[in-house]
Structures are given as structure tokens and as C-alpha cells.
């Protein structure tokens, strides 16, 4: 078995020796170098195109953002569900919060009844805003919130529905 193994190895060795006798190594070297050059050129070209596309895309995106900033409503001019506009200002950067609004019998303080009388609480997602109102009642300044969730669970769906989104809290 050992002899046979060695003969197999010898055969492979002999074939390799025969095949590589007089082999032109410089030619192989040049062929590899040429393929590498070609690949490098392709690679460079391929890397330039995405870079140019990225730059163009970045410029386009910046232009779109600029136009959007110039045309979109600012927080000072929010549109309510009923198409009315309410001039408001944010006391803090726009954000959302989930609050529980206690039911109050003083309907005049609340534009919309967010909960029917039988319920004491209605849960809404809101955005807190500030209107720089100087009015005070019982030492408290009014704070305005916009309900950003479409409708409180127990919201009034009656005539006042269209104004459900704006609430003044004392």
C-alpha cells in the first residue's frame, strides 16, 4: 500500500514537473497584474458612481427639506379637524404625552367634553402648547393642549365633535 501511495504521489509530482517545465512565470505574472489593473479601474469607477449619487441625493434631500420648512404650517398656525386654524405656540419643543383628564362640571372651561358625566376620566394622547395667555383663574394660568389621538375613548361625538381636538385646562 505504501508503495502504491508513493507512486500516486510520484505520478502527480511528475505531471506537475512536466507541465511546469519551461513555464513562463513572467507571463503569468503579467497576466495577473493586468487583471488586477483592470479590476482596480473597474473598482475605482464603480466607487465613484455611488459617491456621486450620494452627493446628488444629499443635495436633493437638503433642497426638499428646505422647501418643506418654507411651506409647511408652523406650530403657530395649526389646523384643527374642522378646518379652523388656531394660533398657538409651543411652550416646549413639540412632543406628545399621555395624560388623564379629569372630568369637570364647568363646561365653559372645556371646549369639548372629553368624557360623559358618568365617567370621571378620559385618556388621550396630547400635545401641550402655550398661548401666552395672561388670564388667570384661582391663581392658575390656562394651558392648552391638542389631543393628537383621533378621539378620546369617551369623547363627545355630538355637535361639538369638530372642536374636540382643542382643550383649555385651568
Amino acid at each position: 500500500m505504501r508503495n502504491e501511495k508513493e507512486r500516486i504521489d510520484l505520478l502527480l509530482e511528475q505531471n506537475a514537473a512536466r507541465q511546469l517545465a519551461g513555464f513562463e512565470w513572467e507571463r503569468l505574472n503579467a497576466a495577473i497584474s493586468s487583471r488586477l489593473d483592470q479590476t482596480t479601474r473597474t473598482k475605482t469607477f464603480a466607487s465613484i458612481i455611488p459617491m456621486a449619487l450620494k452627493v446628488a441625493g444629499g443635495l436633493a434631500a437638503a433642497a426638499v427639506i428646505l422647501i418643506a420648512i418654507m411651506t409647511v404650517d408652523t406650530p403657530d398656525d395649526l389646523r384643527l379637524d374642522n378646518g379652523q386654524r388656531a394660533v398657538v405656540r409651543f411652550a416646549e419643543p413639540a412632543g406628545t404625552a399621555s395624560v388623564q383628564i379629569g372630568h369637570t362640571p364647568l363646561k365653559s372651561q372645556v371646549f369639548v367634553a372629553v368624557a360623559p358625566a358618568r365617567s370621571t376620566l378620559a385618556k388621550c394622547d396630547v400635545r401641550i402648547i402655550d398661548v401666552e395667555d395672561e388670564r388667570e383663574r384661582n391663581g392658575l394660568r390656562p394651558a392648552w393642549i391638542i389631543i393628537t389621538r383621533p378621539e378620546p375613548v369617551f369623547a363627545d361625538n355630538g355637535k361639538a365633535k369638530d372642536m374636540r381636538d382643542l382643550i383649555c385646562m385651568f
Binding site: 502504491e4 507512486r7 505520478l11 509530482e13 503569468l28 495577473i32
Partner: protein
Amino acid sequence: MNHGPKANAGTAARLVRASQTGDRRAFDELVRLYQKRAMMVAVRILGGADEAAEAVQAGFLKAYLNIKKLRDAEQFEPWLLRIVANAAISQARAAKRRADKVRIADCCQQDAALSAPREQDAQELSRAIRKAMLKLSKKEAQAISLFGLQDMSQRQVAEIMNCSVEAVRWHVFNARKKLKVLLKDYLQ
């Protein structure tokens, strides 16, 4: 037979690191250092020098494109030889697929390589070796092609093949056993 000098590990590692930073000249130097050993591996799988040169070119190209992925610069040689061996095996299989298509068209063509040779010229032997290698598993072909390389220890072959030394011996044993049958006409 000169399998190409085993490159100085420190020099090779320095060239690899330079290549990883995009130094083309450094990679060209690596090509010069390792092309003979790469050819030895490819010839043992593909039989012929021309076919082997194709596989070696493909191997170096792949190595060039992926050299940044090589974490240990000292491991360039086993990494490269694995790439070349795989390129040679893929090339042999692709050639076989093409030949099979032709054979379907020409039903009278004989399977010359595995039949008894009338004349054992270099061309015929190289074809027979290539055909025989295709009968081996990928691991067996890798093992037998790397095993005969000068200055290549069994441990290094195991590292290249990502398996144990025992597994390498097993693959070499099986490869020799199969080749002994497939190439019996050339062993007489």
C-alpha cells in the same frame, strides 16, 4: 521539483499589511512570491499548466479583492492557497459541465481519460488527472493537492482546510485510494 521558495513570513506579512492599505506594488510582490506555490496546487488539481494558470489568476484576483478581510497577515499563504485550491476545483467542475454538454451532442466520443491510454503523453496524463480529481470530494482534492507541497506540514494543511490533522490524513488516504484506481493505467 522546485515548488517555489517558502517566503519569509515577516516579509510576507509586511507586504500583506501594505496591500491592505491599497499598495498595489506590495500585492504584485506577493504575487511574485507565491505564484509558484499557487501553480503547484492548481496543477495537482487541474492536471495542465494552462488550466492551472487560469485558476491561479482567478485566485490572486479574489485574494486581492478580499485582502482587507484577512485579519492575520501571517496567515496569507494558507489563506491564498485555500482560495487557489477552491478556484481550481470550481474550474474543473465547470469544465466538466461544459464537456458533459458536448458529450451529449457527440454520443460516439470515448471517455478517453479513464480508458487505457495508448500513448502516455503529458496532455493525456494531465487530462486523466483532472478527470480523476473530479471523482474526489472537495476535501479530498484539497488535501491531496496541498499535501505534496514542499515545506507544507500536515498541520499547515489542516489549518488551510480548517480541520484536524487526523482529518487531513483521512482525506489524503481516501484520495490516494481513489486515485490509485482511477489512474491505474498510468501507474503501471
